[in-house]
């Protein structure tokens, strides 16, 4: 059994798709427990029994449509008009725009590609140090993960069976904290050199608003619709998808109709990848709960962890390591069902656990060896990967500090609930 486990781990580390590795381990456990192997398929089929899952393909597709359009440029110009008057304005603009965009596109790396391409040269032009610039754009690429309606938030709600609207509310302050800490640090680093972009001008704000007139309803419709109870999260996703098509294809005509099938295909590759992992993880979770894995985990941990504080510390360390080797979606579906019962025993709220989990996983985008943002930035801006590591490191430290605050200050996540 141990040999089989090591073999699977090696296969995973050598690049076998995770869904196949998870499925193989689930099949092996089923056959050891003398359960019919078609149980895996029955579990997989329960994907068709989760109404909220509808939100995942629809939001992902809408995000892809937006990033293929001119919306990223408009977002940057609007942020410039609103925030550019501050010292170090462009750095703040970059952070705010990236966070907003990531919330809508689901932190799959599209932020760096869509916004980074505009911000990276703009920051260089405004005289920011190239190392700071590279680090900022790379780390901002996954900022906003905690803001509604980001994909990982929705997936956590599905896996942990927590109302997704609660998670949307809970993410506001922790997400703001990350944003403000990075912004504060950017100001501090550039205190000698950073110039305001331009004086604040109502005229510029008005023209940027006019330009974005078709994009602005989107966040209002999505968030307003969900919080006012007009529609559920999955319906908000449907509205977003339809609205994005109507505006970008038919009104603004920034995406030709014949390009739409390609965008659909590209976005559904990601969705297929995530949902297949979810499907086989449902099976592996099921067997792990059957054999009492969470109880064993709890018994083991309670041997040396007694207080909530020390549990949170251990959790944080574990998640940091996990985030460094596993992508956020696989980590969510595989690990949350195991640690949630344990966390409950230590009095950690499921919603707070979600914030800790996602905030820590966000660091995983920036940590070697598999940090997705590092590779995308290295590829996109044609810098050696080691240079990206070094440039991102200070931002990683700031984000780590914010994760520590989020972990040990539960009311930050729970104040609105």
């Amino acid at each position: 059994m141990i040999v089989f486990g090591v073999l699977l781990l090696l296969l995973a580390l050598f690049g076998a798709p995770l869904f196949a590795v998870i499925a193989a381990s689930a099949l092996a456990s089923y056959s050891r427990e003398d359960i019919d192997l078609s149980a895996l398929v029955i579990e997989f089929f329960s994907i068709a029994e989760m109404p909220v899952l509808l939100a995942i393909p629809l939001f992902t597709f809408a995000g892809y449509v937006l990033s293929e359009s001119q919306a990223p440029g408009r977002l940057v110009r609007l942020s410039q008009a609103l925030l550019g008057w501050m010292p170090g304005g462009l750095a703040i603009v970059s952070l705010a725009a990236c966070a907003f965009f990531t919330a809508f596109t689901g932190a799959s790396g599209v932020t760096i590609i869509a916004l980074g391409a505009i911000l990276y040269p703009a920051l260089a032009q405004s005289g920011y140090d190239s190392k700071f610039n590279l680090g900022l754009v790379t780390s901002a690429g996954s900022l906003g993960l905690l803001f509604a309606p980001s994909l990982p938030l929705i997936l956590y709600g599905i896996v942990a069976q927590v109302p997704i609207d609660d998670l949307f509310l809970a993410g506001i302050l922790p997400g703001m904290l990350m944003l403000f800490m990075l912004a504060g640090w950017s100001l501090w680093v550039n205190r000698g050199t950073a110039q305001p972009l331009a004086a604040f001008s109502w005229q510029k704000v008005a023209s940027a608003l006019r330009e974005s007139v078709w994009d602005l309803p989107l966040p209002i419709v999505v968030l307003g619709g969900i919080y006012s109870g007009y529609f559920a999260v999955s319906e908000a996703a449907a509205v977003t998808a339809l609205y994005a098509i109507i505006v970008e294809v038919f009104i603004l005509r920034e995406i030709p109709l014949r390009q739409l099938p390609d965008i659909m295909r590209e976005s559904m590759l990601l969705v297929g990848g995530i949902l297949v992992i979810l499907g086989v993880s449902l099976a592996s979770t099921n067997i792990m709960i059957d054999i009492g894995a969470p109880q064993q985990l709890l018994a083991w941990i309670s041997g040396f962890v007694s207080s909530q504080t020390s549990f949170l510390l251990l959790l944080l360390l574990f998640l940091l390591v996990l985030g460094a080797i596993l992508d956020i979606f696989s980590a969510l579906v595989l690990v949350v069902p195991l640690i949630l019962p344990v966390a409950l025993q230590y009095g950690v709220e499921p919603v707070h656990l979600g914030m800790i989990f996602l905030a820590t996983m966000q660091l995983g985008y920036l940590t070697p060896p598999v940090g997705l943002n590092l590779f995308i930035a290295s590829y996109r801006f044609e810098r050696p990967i080691t240079e990206v590591y070094a440039a991102t490191f200070p931002f990683l430290v700031i984000l780590l500090l914010s994760v520590i605050v989020i972990t040990f200050w539960p009311s930050l996540s729970l104040v609105f609930l």
Binding site: G15, P57, G272
Partner: protein, 166 residues
Amino acid sequence: MLARLARWGKAAEDTVLVLLLSAMIALATSQIVMRNLFDSGLIWADEALRLMVLWLALAGAVAAARADKHISIDVLSRFLPPIGFRLARTVTHLFTAGVCGAIAWHAWRFVASSREYEDTLLGDQPAWIFQVVLPVAFALMAWRYLCLALTAFVALFAKRRGDAAS
């Protein structure tokens, strides 16, 4: 011949993805309109939407298998020399093909038993019609990964020959 088959396969795959996603958007938004404006809606719509998510997930997974774009960790193979890399790919692709084949087989058994027990979905429709996508999708993925494994395997020898020639 094979190239044409592959081209048709991709076209069919794209068509399925586009139709499913478009239908999903249309159905979900029309439900909202009907509920909020006319206080009505199609009874079967919610269940149909959930089934479409499953189909879309499987169609997306098949498309991702074609492009070898499934989520993976892959930290070690980039340190390998080219030959080792191709060897690792041959092994991981074969493994994935095997797992998909096993899932397809058990999915087939699942569908067969659902047919035998005359399970129904969407009112009184036979459930197996909707479930049969499971074995089909995993069989297609198994086939895809088998092709990828063969490609990697052949490249292994092509590279050797290239080395010998130079």
